[in-house]
């Protein structure tokens, strides 16, 4: 019953966030181009095709990471701009529901972003994805996205109430997310068969990502109330 209502709340909250995105096209019109631009710039800065293909995996996730900061910030700017988060808290809206909802909306937006970036990598950095490694790639994206979304929601909610949040958020999120970045990079390189990795080597890393996502998912569900409380 509780969980049922958690899911209902989550659906309503996620629906609202996606509705706002649908209205304002922030991710589509701004963050995707931004991330793509970042990748182009990397390519410029390195300007060395071999090298580029080698580090392609890392660059994809670096670009994702920096876009994540912006998306999370946006996602909670919506809530705090006019004290909506306060209103939700007072109304006793199930925090676990809010957490799931916001995370879900983030997952959708991030996934969209990552697909674009992988595509960009294939075009810009001339990496190849064999059908065989496609499944690894997708699983990796999925797990990484979950992890990023959970961490983003946790720290977004944490920083939401605080002053100078625009600077606090990156500082808090970066160390927490580093494992995802590394794991996802390795797995992606494996999928790309770059920097001397073969597909099979990718799976342990995906496992790491899955564990990470699970930990922060559970952590968020149980701790989010204490985060947005007071």
């Amino acid at each position: 019953m509780k969980s049922q209502s958690t899911l209902r709340i989550a659906r309503v909250v996620a629906g609202k966030d996606l509705q706002i995105e649908f209205r304002s096209h922030v991710v589509i019109n701004r963050i995707v181009p931004f991330a793509a631009l970042v990748m182009v710039m990397f390519a410029f800065a390195l300007d060395d095709d071999l090298l580029l293909a080698r580090v392609a995996g890392g660059l994809v996730w670096l670009a994702t990471l920096f876009s994540l900061f912006i998306i999370v910030q946006r996602s909670f700017a919506i809530e705090t701009a006019d004290g909506a988060l306060d209103a939700l808290r007072v109304a006793g809206v199930n925090p676990a529901g809010i957490f799931l909802g916001k995370a879900l909306a983030l997952v959708v937006q991030l996934f969209l972003l990552e697909i674009t970036l992988i595509g960009a990598a294939i075009v810009l950095y001339r990496v190849h994805v064999e059908p065989s490694s496609a499944v690894l790639l997708v699983t990796c994206m999925f797990c990484a996205t979950l992890g990023l979304a959970f961490v983003g929601t946790i720290f977004g909610g944490l920083a939401a109430g605080m002053r100078g949040r625009e600077t606090l958020l990156p500082l808090l999120m970066l160390p927490a997310i580093a494992p995802v970045l590394i794991g996802a990079t390795k797995a992606t390189e494996a999928a790309f068969n770059t920097s001397g990795m073969v597909t099979s080597e990718g799976w342990p890393w995906v496992g790491l990502l899955a564990v990470f996502a699970a930990v922060f998912g559970v952590g968020g569900l149980s701790a989010f109330s204490s985060l947005i409380e007071e």
Binding site: I9, D82, A87, A91, G92
Partner: protein
């Protein structure tokens, strides 16, 4: 200490950093009252309301709302309380209707209630489909009041609810509050609009220096 009272506060201290915004407050609110908190700027009215809403933790003393201890059973209280602070809690990228809809979905209220609330606050029709970001100050306030109406709370905590509303809106708000009380709710509001709120309130309490000065009828 179970009493029939809606709010029962005893020697409550609320501190911000090292500043006791509430310096030992003791007061109680009976069911069906419309209690007016009045006092100078910085007296502690907003803090008191936020504390009753469970937004600000109590540092010392006890506070019961709707028969539940705020420190241990806050979650049982919350969904029965409606709070309107200095900010409106609106999503500026959504329209008025979408904002109110969001809340009515959260509390499982029907769409007809949404429409009713919009009509009631005079923000139906053309306005209802405007982005909240495009509204005037008073129209925003009306929207957040509509959000409150659909919640059908048992305890209404209102911080300067009349601010920004025009004459008509103020009369409407008063009517809404009287009606809520008639149907069993209780209202606590802080306001500097003495002429108007003195008529509305069933009891006036003087807040100053983080404590209740005197409770005159």
């Amino acid at each position: 200490m179970k009493t029939g009272n809606i709010v029962e506060m005893h020697d409550a201290v609320v501190v911000y950093g090292d500043f006791p915004a509430l310096a030992g407050m003791t007061f109680s609110v009976r069911k069906g009252e419309i209690l007016l908190l009045q006092g100078p700027n910085g007296a502690g009215k907003s803090t008191l309301l936020r504390t009753c809403a469970g937004l600000t933790p109590i540092f010392r003393g006890t506070a019961e709302v709707l028969g539940h201890d705020l420190r241990t059973e806050r979650d049982l209280v919350r969904h029965r309380v409606g709070f309107l602070g200095h900010s409106n809690g609106l999503f500026s990228d959504l329209t008025i209707r979408e904002n109110v809809m969001f809340w009515s979905r959260l509390v499982d209220a029907g769409d007809d209630e949404t429409e009713a609330a919009l009509e009631r606050m005079g923000i139906g029709g053309r306005l209802a489909d405007l982005r909240v970001g495009e509204l005037s100050a008073g129209q925003k306030r009306r929207c957040s009041l509509a959000n409150l109406v659909v919640r059908r709370a048992e305890l209404w905590l209102l911080d300067e609810p009349h601010a920004g509303l025009d004459g008509g809106g103020r009369d409407e708000l008063d009517a809404i509050l009287r009606q809520a009380v008639a149907s069993g709710a209780t209202v606590i509001l802080a306001s500097h609009e003495l002429e108007r709120t003195r008529q509305l309130a069933t009891r006036v309490v003087q807040v100053s220096g983080g404590q209740i000065l005197d409770a005159s009828l």
